[in-house]
Symmetry: C2
Subunit: 316 residues, 2 copies
């Protein structure tokens, strides 16, 4: 399946979505309220595509071929003309989203799906008053979506089942791994799980149980090794002879016992931050952060190539 | 650094520790209250070592060479004779641990470190009455330690700083990644973080927000991709322009907002288990669990080899 997509808002996230769609053969039209932004985005994308080609992340295509599918649109109506999918990447301000969606939605064709990249605002808040609200949802990526497959599809109460099914198909077609939510909730799925883990991590450091690096070691040299190819439910399903129910019956007592001590929230920006920032800046100075982000992306690409190879060699 | 270790309790965890120590050049003596268990453990270890050699997990050594360092001991005193490190792997029952440690600790040399593999019992509870309690701690691995590096070092209030430093050195010398805790706490570090994540995962499924597989997708195709080589603190340190403090200031509001909805615990073995077990057994029948555990270990070994290669190629 391929089609055409309108990227509304051509900043960091919009550009990343443009790459994800174009790499899969989709035609991409970029629009932004800042008139020069789409053309600048095309330039930035050209650079990113060269890096991706060098890392074998364009499915064997030349960067120029993928880039050829992406073009700026002169205005919002032109961007949405004939689009099968609209991906909105406006700032995380409700009033901006509401105004934009009110303008945008009537311009879209009757069968077009409209999706927001928001991580912070549930979709009902900016789609309620729209005539075609049944075809509107949130499709929230982990940035950048051309590297990280997981994408949350979040319905408003009026988003139709057909829309959700079609959205799931489109995401799979461009190579994303959709998380199909059945209802909206603040934080969606991934930030809620990340938040739960981080709250405990901050508490452990604040209480002097261990340092920030100890937390990172426990995850990167421990728990996340399995999570990176199985997820937490499959992990516990394989950690008791009789599967996940057996695990719950054997070990729930331990977790139940520690749950009451997880009810207290630590101010992340409070005194604990002295410790965490001190540890982090001792390992990596502020001027090295940007280079380390590139290091992260190289490791991320290498891990994704490894996972694809391991799936071929060992199976899924 | 190498030395000799006594493995007290030759079941699943004891055998795995024997491999971790022997692979690093240590002499290993196995003891178990069941008289035939150590010799049986050596047989089992021989099979595991062949698998590990085939997967290039013995640092270039032959399986027979590593196996040659491991032998059963006729009794507890003989096992501990001259040992630099004692690793206890008894059942997770406080009365068993107490009796065993009371018998074991006086048999150990003055400079010997004694460690428990327990995940469930804080070390003060079975070391309080011991004359040499300053050299006792918990060294809790994720099983199996010869594959998963992260190991929690948990002091009792009377464990000496020297013991903790020496324990850290020994663990690094055999290739583990120590998490050096400053005080004991139920669940230690890793199970507390796993528990926090699982509590939210069970809540999401119980509340009908998404399915168990959606949770697994969000982790294995999303969050854990970075956690597998960075950990959660380094991840957020790189997710805001000004580092971890900037991240906390920008995004804490989102997490603070969802925290109150994380105060309610779902019974893992209650109605939600119908959903989770139904999903899991539809993907993998109970008779396939064992084969899938072997699949997991093959993927785990492949991931560890990948991480070592990526560290060489991209840097740390």
């Amino acid at each position: 399946m391929s089609g055409s997509t309108a990227i509304v808002g051509s900043g960091l996230i919009g550009r990343a979505w443009a790459i994800a769609f174009a790499r899969a053969g989709w035609t991409v039209r970029l629009w932004d309220p800042v008139e020069t932004a789409p053309a600048e985005a095309v330039d930035t994308i050209a650079g990113l595509l060269s890096d991706l080609a060098a890392n074998d992340m364009l499915r064997g295509q030349d960067a120029s071929r993928v880039l050829g599918r992406i073009a700026p649109a002169p205005n919002l109506a032109a961007a949405l003309e004939g689009a099968d999918w609209v991906q909105e990447n406006a700032p995380e301000k409700l009033e901006i989203k509401r105004a934009l969606w009110a303008e945008m939605e009537p311009l879209a064709g009757a069968d077009t799906i409209l999706a927001s990249s928001t991580s912070a605002i549930v979709p009902s808040l900016f789609t309620e008053g729209l005539a075609g609200r049944h075809r509107c949802l949130t499709a929230h990526p982990i940035n950048p979506p051309y590297l990280v497959p997981a994408t949350e599809l979040v319905p408003a109460p009026w988003t139709s089942a057909e829309t959700m099914e079609k959205a799931e198909s489109v995401m799979r077609a461009i190579g994303q791994a959709p998380i199909v939510m059945r209802k909206e909730i603040d934080g969606f799925v991934m930030n809620r799980m990340q938040g739960a883990l981080l709250e405990e991590a901050f508490r452990l450091v604040a209480d002097g149980v261990c340092g920030a690096e100890d937390v990172d070691v426990g995850i990167r040299e421990g728990l996340a090794l399995r999570w990176a190819f199985m997820g937490p439910f499959e992990t516990i399903d394989l950690n008791a002879p009789g599967g996940v129910r057996d695990y719950a019956e054997r070990y729930q007592g331990l977790y139940e016992g520690i749950f009451p001590s997880m009810q207290r929230r630590v101010d992340w920006a409070g005194p604990v931050m002295e410790t965490i920032e001190g540890e982090r800046r001792a390992r990596l100075s502020e001027t090295e952060l940007q280079e380390r982000q590139r290091w992260r992306d190289r490791h991320l690409m290498a891990l994704l190539r490894h996972k694809a190879r391991a799936r071929d060699d060992i199976g899924e």
